[in-house]
Symmetry: C2
């Protein structure tokens, strides 16, 4: 395995803020996007981390995204809102939408916010986890470029359509599920390609729907297998309906790759839910029950050869604590690309 | 494959109603439970169909369930309610809870209902689909006997914890996802065992966590693999938190099989959501967009050897239409068991 150079969190944040500001993003928004991308790197999800700002800056330059969008509520009631992202960066749009969702859920117990005219929002967990500081359960989904075929087909119809759920806990790390409904997130295949590695069987399909271990074949076939077969296909379709169909965003066949050129308006849709466990029982009791469930999970007998059972979000939490102290081991090819980008646009911050 | 005898829907419904009434269930409730179980048979989900009433009658006789429960709301607000099932049959409890959820969602756009002190409720789709007649999207989940270990473990912590989502459509069949977060529903393994068939690799685990094709080994090991590995484990844990932890139902380790004796109070938990797509766009427009998505799915190029791509719920819909006309092809071993049960308790209706 290649040696990964260490990048310190604060310079990386400053690098991203400066780069985003150079792309025309207002200060406050640049800080939000940089914070979200940094958190993804800290959680070890480099595929959705700071490297993505190169693409975002490119989309703003090409006119596909606006640096100063007019994000606004189209319709609302106590338990819901529909938000027009006005072609803002997905991170800004999703952050604002989840703020609204959290505010509403604090008043009603349960609320949802749909979003249209957005774009790629990074890691879904970023928005589900926003609910945690208010002791709410957060749910975040989005549609994306058509890449998952229905079972039996070889034409992509659904995006990787991730589902993230974050649950507040007591003394433990928060429980955070963040999963693509494809076998893996597209960006993990991109990363394998960047690093010159093969992908495990089952991650990718060739054009004919056969499995492949070559990341380039998988990326250029335009399709990816759904998680666990027809069930993953079903989950991807439900996410497409909630985040794409119901929000008046682009959906299905219309999201196919050729429509994702840098200058295109994407009209990606998101769907967020926030719910307050305290509507059913005292918060302390909820938290101690979640802790009991974590204890149950940790108490299982291990399959031979297994060292430890992890709770969803625990690996990312451990990485975050380690990387905050020691620095982020950054995939070298991506780091070189990011540094080159910084030089081109004149970012003064050094990453190593 | 064994020849399946045909059972006509109406005699089967009457058989179930009579059997449930003999168990002490009031008329109206017996009709509800019989209707729910008949629908599962009509959809080809025999594992969750009329055969299950034998067990339900046994649980009432043994005192584990009440024939006349006092199902009531513990707490509520416009967007949510928490319901105490008072040890009623899961079907009755879930039906009443989903009625409340639908009523609330019609007023607020989005509502959820948590349930405790319930028991096995049959097929999750039964309740998600209740939302369809009101043109709402329905979501139904439940926890269940601990059988799914976390990834790397060989002790069951989570139930098969199904997720069902039903979506209203225009001229097409409704989109209905109904999936266990295990690789398959437990009852499908029970059915394979009843019919003397092997199970596909990946459906079951032996006690050490290795895959097995013998249904008895799979059923007696007490564990089942989660859907697609760690992602299915994550989904099972989220369902456990929503349906079990948050509702004050029994959860995690405490739901292990030894606590499921006929005479035991189970305190199973459910969680339901209903949402109105018309909160975001006119209903007709929503429906025509869902139809467009179905058209997209149906338009894909097929993988060699595939005849047709199905939308979630379509296979069950086709079966229902066929079985309503021709009768239900009923698994013979289960049918003999049901007839024997009918004779024992003096049900007059003949099934063939």
């Amino acid at each position: 395995m290649t040696e990964y150079p260490l990048v310190q969190p604060e310079p990386l944040r400053q690098f991203c803020i400066e780069a985003l500001k150079k792309a025309g993003i207002p200060d406050e928004d640049a800080c939000i996007v940089a914070g979200i991308q940094l958190e993804a790197d800290l959680r070890g999800v480099h595929s959705h981390g700071s490297i993505a700002i190169i693409g975002y800056a490119g989309r703003i330059k090409a006119g596909g995204n606006k640096a100063n969008p007019n994000i606004h509520i189209i319709s609302e009631a106590p338990a819901y809102a529909l938000v027009d992202g006005d072609d803002g960066l997905g991170q800004i749009v999703a952050y604002r939408a989840m703020e609204i969702c959290i505010r509403k859920a604090k008043a009603t117990g349960l609320a949802c916010v749909g979003v249209n005219n957005s774009s790629h929002f990074g890691a879904a967990a970023s928005y589900a986890m926003m609910a945690l500081k208010e002791n709410l359960i957060g749910v975040a989904t989005t549609n994306a470029a058509a890449i998952i075929p229905p079972t039996g087909g070889k034409t992509g119809i659904f995006g990787t359509n991730p589902i993230s759920v974050a649950v507040p806990t007591g003394h433990s790390f928060p429980v955070v599920l963040d999963m693509a409904t494809s076998t893996v997130a597209t960006q993990k295949i991109v990363q394998a390609y960047r690093e010159g590695q093969k992908i495990p069987a089952g991650w990718g399909m060739d054009k004919e729907g056969n499995t492949t271990t070559d990341p380039l074949t998988a990326l250029t076939s335009g399709i990816q297998p759904p998680l666990g077969g027809y069930k993953g296909y079903g989950l991807a379709m439900i996410v497409e309906i909630l985040a794409g169909v119901m929000t008046s965003a682009r959906f299905g066949r219309a999201t196919e790759g050729k429509n994702w050129a840098l200058g295109n308006h994407l009209n990606v849709g998101h769907f967020f839910i926030a719910l307050n466990p305290a509507m059913f029982l005292p918060l302390d009791e909820f938290k101690s029950r979640v802790e009991q469930l974590i204890t149950d999970v940790k108490s299982v007998q291990l399959i031979e050869g297994t060292q430890k059972v992890y709770v969803p979000g625990e690996i990312e939490w451990e990485k975050r604590n380690k990387y905050l102290k020691e620095g982020i081991p950054y995939p070298p090819a991506a780091l070189a690309q990011l540094e080159k980008f910084g030089q081109e646009i004149g970012v003064g911050v050094k990453l190593r």
